[in-house]
């Protein structure tokens, strides 16, 4: 089956309905044995040093995975660096299908975008709707995992992150993913409870370092809310698929995202918020809005390179936990 790369979450029901396999390029990049080498490769090709590492990682990842010759690039609702990513990949012979989430969450415009994607991949609304029902089975289980994260004490922040972030493409095989998740959920009662007196929320794009959650848990704090990762699971059960991708908050403005964030912070009873922004990302500017709107202690983290927390970030995390205690 043909693989279709994607730069961030798009209506993947369309890809599965077309009998193709969606591949979230971010997941391939960050699980590479040496993600930093992919970033450096892009810099050698001419990508600026002072630019988001994700974009550079996606560039090299696409070039290295020769079975992915078509990608869907999100041209609106994600960063504008994607435009140049599309162009440089086109130069390298990759077919690029643009997809735009309308900034104002306009229903008709979003429907039109989905319609064009359906046409482009050669499927139909009926097949897409059937696929949505199929994926709903898997999403229900992920929702349970998320519920157990904040209502129980056995799901670690990292597991919550990993299972939810994987919902951007279900690792190319929704049923296999669901089965792995079932095993995890079944084994949960045997796990040791996580001892943590501080409950944290993590908001912003997924972290480029993979040791953040463990570092926090070693210091008696745990993440009970992963904002964007949860959005990848389409947490709002809505029958209309256009509406589903209209309520999905990640590609839209910060004020809309804050509605979801505020609701969840309250519900999950968190003590503090970590706002993560990638270095050189426009979302770093939105930090000032987040700080004004959320009435919680906030630590702003900036991640640059994969894959481990640097000394400065660890120092800041320690200080933040100290404030919360």
């Amino acid at each position: 089956m043909q693989k279709i790369g994607m730069t961030t979450t798009v209506p993947m029901e369309v890809i599965y309905a077309a009998g193709m396999i969606p591949v979230d390029l971010n997941n391939i990049f960050i699980t590479h044995e040496n993600p930093q080498s992919l970033v450096e490769e892009a810099e050698i090709a001419g990508y600026p040093r002072n630019l988001c590492a994700w974009i550079k990682g996606l560039y090299t990842t696409t070039l290295q995975n020769e079975d992915i010759r078509t990608i869907i690039a999100v041209t609106q609702g994600d960063c504008s660096n994607t435009h140049a990513l599309m162009e440089t990949l086109e130069m390298a012979g990759v077919k690029v299908i643009p997809f735009a989430f309308p900034f104002d969450r306009d229903y008709d415009l979003l429907k039109l975008q989905m319609e064009k994607l359906i046409e482009s991949l050669g499927t139909s609304w009926e097949a897409v709707q059937r696929t949505k029902a199929r994926l709903e089975q898997v999403r229900q289980r992920v929702k349970e995992l998320d519920r157990l994260t904040w209502q129980g004490d056995r799901v670690s922040g990292w597991d919550n992150h990993l299972f939810q972030v994987s919902c951007s493409d279900f690792e190319g095989d929704p049923e296999a993913f669901a089965s792995r998740l079932d095993t995890y959920l079944a084994e949960l009662p045997q796990r040791n409870p996580i001892k943590a007196d501080i409950r944290l929320a993590y908001i912003g794009v997924p972290p480029i370092m993979d040791d953040l959650y463990d570092y926090l848990e070693e210091r008696g704090a745990r993440v009970v809310f992963n904002e964007v990762q949860r959005q990848f699971t389409m947490p709002f059960a809505i029958d209309d698929i256009v509406e589903q991708y209209r309520t999905y908050s990640y590609p839209y403005g910060i004020f809309y995202r804050l509605e979801d964030i505020t609701r969840e912070l309250e519900r999950r009873q968190v003590d503090g918020v970590i706002h993560y922004a990638q270095s050189f990302c426009y979302r770093q500017i939105e930090d000032l809005i987040i700080r004004q709107k959320l009435k919680y202690p906030i630590l702003t983290l900036e991640g640059d390179k994969p894959n481990k927390l640097d000394a400065r970030t660890r120092m800041r995390l320690d200080a933040f936990l100290d404030i919360l205690r």
Binding site: R312, D318, A319, D322, I323
Partner: protein
């Protein structure tokens, strides 16, 4: 005797507190401290205190950038900002202030109210507002840090925020024929411009200024003039973190 150690990027600072409460201070170059006086034993750094002339302390509390990478044997480790807040309270007897700590490679601003840390800011991965920047710039001007820290009037405008590119820009200003006083004032002002956004976010009625850069009197004057609040520099600004560690040990 209690021992507080601040493992900094440029210097290791040690404060010793005797039973009568008197403090004594020792400073070591960071690299030679690790190279000559420490050795790794089972993943921990063992330091020979006696050989350093520090006696045998009953209790050792340590902090600093090094604390993340070096596990000092026999020492209790506390977060860096906590140590600095405790040190500032101990040294000034103040409980409500904005702490500004400018060290060898990093800058920190902490808002303290009723003796508790409320919020903080740190510099991004750049040494442009730190002691290292001042050292580089003094070297370009061929003056020492004491001379550099005398000037704050008629500063030349230096726009570069990078400690390395700043040198090139400063050389350009030298060529333009500005006086040494203006050049030095420009360097000091650049530090202020860099930390101003952090201070503005966490302002209070008093600034407590610590770290090696706090010995720069020009910067103290600039802070007072631009922000309109008193700037308190404790007696031992560079040993503030180590003193905080002693305070913690005493608790």
């Amino acid at each position: 005797m209690l021992c507080g150690i601040d493992l900094g990027s440029r210097n290791v600072k040690v404060a010793l507190r005797d039973q009568d409460g008197s403090l004594s201070f020792h400073k070591f170059d960071t690299v030679s401290f690790y190279r000559e006086h420490g050795r790794a034993v089972e993943g921990q750094l063992r330091v020979d205190f006696a050989a350093l002339g520090l006696g045998v302390p009953e209790r050792v509390v340590a902090t600093g950038y090094g604390r993340q990478t070096i596990n000092l044997q026999g020492a209790e480790i506390i977060p860096e900002l906590k140590a600095h807040v405790l040190g500032a309270i101990q040294q000034t007897n103040l409980t409500d202030f904005t702490l500004l700590d400018l060290g060898g490679q990093d800058s920190k601003v902490v808002l303290v109210a009723r003796g508790k840390m409320l919020d903080f800011q740190t510099n991004d991965k750049c040494a442009a507002s730190t002691g290292r920047y001042l050292e580089n710039m003094a070297a370009v001007l061929d003056i020492d840090l004491a001379e550099l820290s005398r000037h704050y009037e008629n500063p030349v405008d230096l726009s570069s925020t990078c400690a390395i590119f700043g040198e090139t820009e400063l050389i350009g200003k030298v060529v333009e024929g500005h006086t040494l006083a203006s050049l030095a004032a420009g360097v000091n002002y650049t530090i202020f411009k860099r930390i101003k956004p952090m201070l503005k976010k966490l302002m209070s009625d008093t600034i407590v200024f610590t770290g090696g850069v706090a010995r720069n009197q020009a910067l103290v004057k600039i802070l007072e003039r631009e922000l309109g609040v008193p700037v308190v520099v404790p007696t031992h600004p560079q040993f503030n973190g180590a003193i905080g560690c002693c305070s913690y040990a005493l608790e």
